[in-house]
Assembly symmetry: C2
Homo-oligomer: 356 residues x 2
Amino acid sequence: MERRRTRPVKVGSITIGGGAPVSVQSMTKTHTHDVSATVRQIEELTELGCEIIRCAVPDARAARALSDVRKRAPIPLIADIHFDHRLALRAIDAGVDGVRVNPATIRNKEGLRAVFRSAAAARIKVRIGLNSGSVRPRSGLRVKTDTNKTDVAELMVREALKCCRMAETEGCRSLVLSFKASDVPATIRAYRLAAEQCDYPFHVGITAAGPPETSLVKSAVGIGALLAEGIGDTIRVSMTGPPHDEVNAGIAILEAIELRGRRGPEIISCPTCGRCTIDLQAIVREVSKRLEGCPKRIRVAIMGCVVNGPGEAAEADVGIAGGKNFGYIFRRGTKRGKVPAPQLVDALMAEIEEIP
Amino acid sequence: MERRRTRPVKVGSITIGGGAPVSVQSMTKTHTHDVSATVRQIEELTELGCEIIRCAVPDARAARALSDVRKRAPIPLIADIHFDHRLALRAIDAGVDGVRVNPATIRNKEGLRAVFRSAAAARIKVRIGLNSGSVRPRSGLRVKTDTNKTDVAELMVREALKCCRMAETEGCRSLVLSFKASDVPATIRAYRLAAEQCDYPFHVGITAAGPPETSLVKSAVGIGALLAEGIGDTIRVSMTGPPHDEVNAGIAILEAIELRGRRGPEIISCPTCGRCTIDLQAIVREVSKRLEGCPKRIRVAIMGCVVNGPGEAAEADVGIAGGKNFGYIFRRGTKRGKVPAPQLVDALMAEIEEIP
């Protein structure tokens, strides 16, 4: 899958764009001024695989905490700024690795210019991050589409590119852009549109995507669709839930589209049908449980019958292809034995243990 | 989002392709010869929104049951055939609405021709359904890609199109094609490749996608990415779990990409951050619970602060935009009141109840 060519932008030790691996980021849900709680959450998220963290900076108290958070955070820290450009200036002074500004909420345009100048001087990146929710109410623009609705995608892209021109004028070219709508088609439309018009890397996500169950599908569809087109340099899954779930979901999306190696075993298992004579669902549940925390990056095929079983099992590192109340065990294409159904899980686990 | 132009293919009362709505299908996991259990499962899945059902036909006993299943099934019935073309002929005689054949498992090519002739005479559709697992072992072909691996995508498309020519020769043009790999990029590659070469509608899915948690992300990414490119006329999510979860996931994917109206309320809610001073996660959980089973197709925004809150709340049918220990209630863009945090859920639900 060919990726969109973007210019590389450094954020601390991480590069966004320019062919760098797509990074996973999240945002703390603690009060930023509570340094201990914030740092603890950042450490937990880092442990899970989060690579860039963002903290809200709603007031001076939060801005003052940034310097301490920055010193103790193991990954690059981005300050999230709305409304008041002075908070961005303070964040830059505090030594953050980047700031995110939303030009739709910062009305003081001279102030915004000062932020870009300050970021350029500090050699840190700025994300120009538009959201459907903030661009909608304040904009007098009403772009009409063929469905005769305001096209929030066009509004976001227009605002962002206008802001890019402003940043460039101030000497700031370390820019990352985002255009997040709460509906998937508008988000996809915005990123596609912007991809034609600039070479800045994109931070991709669906905003206000809802509780975990809802967000998982919306985010996987939206972020996945863009990544499949080569669009997206860093991603954030937004969920009304623990940030840990956001990080896990982000990594799972990258794993699914194979932009990141798996953290552990991948289970390939069939849905079962009227053809299946072993209790495959129970086998898969048991194997999944026993493989929890296993760091081996192997492909484990657990297939119910001879239709796709031998083929998938042959391509996998280890596999079961079910027969009539028994199963064949495979190891990298070689049949290792015929095992009665009740012993299949043990036999499979024994094979997996032998793999270095 | 423009959809790929495909020829319409009728399956009982449902049209696949030709601009028809993308349909959701699943497969029974009962033994097909157990007519009562099979029909009961089909009825349950229909209730959830499943529009086409497929049953495995591994033997003569299953084939004999098809006629009864067909009579009692409320939605079109497809017979799933591998290996033995005679089972397909029996299924057609039993009056099924379509058959699925996998040319990679049916070695008797004259037999396969007879199936296409019989389907043409019965005026029913045939799905030519390739899977990575069945195409891999039997094919002597080893197509090399730039990554120097066998490209299972090319193999599947080549086999399917060869089979289309055979079907056309026998007068059968009611064809639906599928190319399902157990990895997402190969699946996407196959459908893109085939889309350039024919106008038959596509049945889209990721095969052997694993247990529900794994499958949900892989399927949402893979099916979602294809739908976002306009590819896909009917979908099936494969999960090692209850078929009910497959149907729910399929519908959720179509809802996310807005190819289908929502079954009930959609919750737009922010992930919360250091800016949020109300317990938004608890509010979202409570509202989700209270809205369970609600048939109103409304957009409910539950936003933690003033950044995107008023914007999303204004665009939604009803909404909360959180403030400092209170929240504003919105109704279609109009502010309805300022409510203390503990009463927000009740106030929101009262607004929702007023909506007809």
